[in-house]
Symmetry: C4
Subunit: 233 residues, 4 copies
């Protein structure tokens, strides 16, 4: 079976979303990329997580041509592909309709950096894209969703690995990371951060959030060359 290890990692990432309560029925999908071969492995469309096996995972090239697998890929494939093409540092993408993050997406509101839990994972607010124009929606909609994400990150100068998540306006979050494990982990933490941001903002709508200094301190405690969290490797 082609890309057996990556399939297993992508399967595990999909199942982590279920275990953590981020997906209902078949909503949501995770993918990973083998950069050397230029191949993407992704959950098939509309298959129940209970029945999902490694050999159901679909393999495509970076243009979406199916290379291996008998099922249709996730209907969100074209968003994943665009993110892989435009964000060369990332190795995996996760899409869910996790409920609190989706509520911010529906409200068209970014998730501000309100505390250190956020700062440990996201080096700044989790942004929300612009709404898609009707031409984009009626055109290559799934592809255009990726275009809106990439446009926002490029225009705002946001490093996708420093803020590995976005809210698509009126839709739901996409997350990513270096590996399928990291992308799923980021999706789970995003939802926890969104739950806390929701409660913080409904307690105190004018909450300003953490200082740049505290944001830096926590982010770099877990990321980069000077990270001090966890065990030495």
């Amino acid at each position: 079976m082609l890309l057996q290890d990556l399939r297993a990692e992508v399967l595990e990432a999909n199942l982590e979303l279920v275990r953590r309560g981020l997906v209902l029925y078949t909503f949501g999908n995770a993918s990973g990329i083998d950069r050397d071969r230029g191949l993407v492995v992704i959950k098939p469309s509309g298959v129940s997580y209970d029945e999902l096996r490694a050999d159901h995972i679909v393999v495509t090239d970076l243009n979406g041509k199916i290379v291996d697998g008998e099922l249709r890929p996730s209907s969100d494939l074209d968003t994943h592909l665009l993110l892989y093409r435009e964000f060369p540092e990332i190795g995996a993408v996760v899409h869910t309709h996790s409920e609190y993050a989706t509520s911010f997406a529906q409200a068209g509101m970014p998730i501000p950096a309100l505390g250190t839990t956020h700062a440990d994972y996201f080096h700044g607010p989790v942004p929300v894209t612009a709404s898609l124009a009707d031409e984009a929606i009626t055109g290559r909609y799934v592809h255009e969703t990726g275009v809106a994400i990439v446009k926002h990150f490029k225009e705002q100068g946001i490093d996708p690995l420093a803020v590995p998540a976005v809210l698509v306006a009126g839709h739901a979050p996409f997350c990513w990371g270096r590996t399928p494990h990291d992308a799923a982990h980021n999706a789970v933490v995003l939802e926890a951060v969104a739950r806390m941001a929701y409660r913080t903002l409904t307690l105190r709508a004018d909450c300003g959030g953490v200082s740049q200094c505290l944001l830096d301190r926590h982010y770099f405690r877990k990321h980069g060359a000077s990270a001090t969290y966890g065990q030495k490797k």
Copy 2:
């Protein structure tokens, strides 16, 4: 046993409501119809879900005459019957007091189409009926509940299969679908959509919701001749 397959489907739909946390104690009920025979199968009244078996399911004709079964049918039978008579496309009805949808019903507020999760299942806002007049409440109350639902859909020109759910003002939701499986699935998604709408509106009360264009795009991605979601059948 008469209508054995449909009984099994209706039993399974009732149990899905329990598994998904939509019902407390004996609240809620699901039914299905065999259109060829004009027979409705429905949960009995006040029986615990733990003990519910296929042979407890009651069979009535479209006027509510019991054709098979030793238990009383659900106390909401007359609402189900009216929906079957007036909405000939539907094959199953589900009633729950699922908590977020019920909160909108209690507030007398429709659930607006705030995002794509909603649009994937409901092609427009989930409407709320008018309050029942005292004469309707003291008269054939359960039947009149159905009358209020049908009146709202007809007056507003809403296709019941395109918006397979309603909130009865001051009461709770009714959902439906082509099959018991679909009706229960719609009830589960309605509750998820209601949870997200609640959080969206408490974050931002003036949230306008998705554009008609996005609503159409998502709805028709999962419904109708041009649907692209899931596996080819």
Copy 3:
């Protein structure tokens, strides 16, 4: 063992509170009364629910004198006793700090009858007592808690079986019923009703609630001589 059946019922009522998520650690207690003998059986104070057995249950007379059992009774015993003395129709009392009902108690707000779920169990708002005066708090505080409850029901002319629950201001709910099973069931439904009232009122603070006509219709559907819900007995 004295009053073996009632002990078993009271034990089961205590455990139902745990199963339904109404109690944290040792918070909460249920009791029942044998009216013929004038004896009350109640949970012991501060005993873990995991370890609770029928022979831990304490038996007292209506003045709180321990008649059987080696453990101290619940620290809320005197509230239970007063309710038994003043509300002769009731056969069981349940006290929890269930979180949504307690939030209304903390806010000093009654739970209005906002929908039919409420009306099925509570024939009017679930009232909140007056705050206790300092003399009552520093005096026979637990007894005075009962006094405040009874005073409110008598002054407002509320039938304790028609509204089998109260919120003690700044504290938490007490519920009751004809049997330990009913009292626990009422406590579970109260918490569900409080969850929905919380969400309804945060969506729409000016929500007026159901009409008297709908309140009567639902309440008497499940209670009294003309009840039509459930199976004939």
Copy 4:
């Protein structure tokens, strides 16, 4: 193995945080102190709770020098150490990012004493520290977090055993107690109290909370020489 009993207690306290849903992934940590030997035992950094064993627990002196154990201690060690040095009555410290307490910390709001559940455990509001200055954040940040906590308690004259919890502004709660069991228990109750305070304040923002008299009554019912709750020991 050094301090075998205390390690077991600290392990158990860490696991109680998981069982009660207070921690996500590796967030959170518990420690305990042996006052006679001046040794602190604490969870290692970034180790999964699933794999955590008593021999993973790290032992340090009160200056943070590792005395036993092969793993790095929790990255929050220096806050624990300062609390042990400055609050000589306490025997254990717990840090979590439990979501409701963290939401208050993010909002920079103390948790007011709104009811008796609060009063049973916390003899006054759970305070929130001042925000740390940039010099403190870029300096010995983890140590300075402890400094901010101790400063607040000393300036406000709060007895750390009477109010065994604090919210660090923009960050999350720290709790403590005489033993690891008590500290974890306080963390669990703090989160329940925060959930109820959140709902109370979103129902009624101007809620004043309980009187000093009721606060005293409940606090001293469970604490001190005149406590009446639970079984005699």
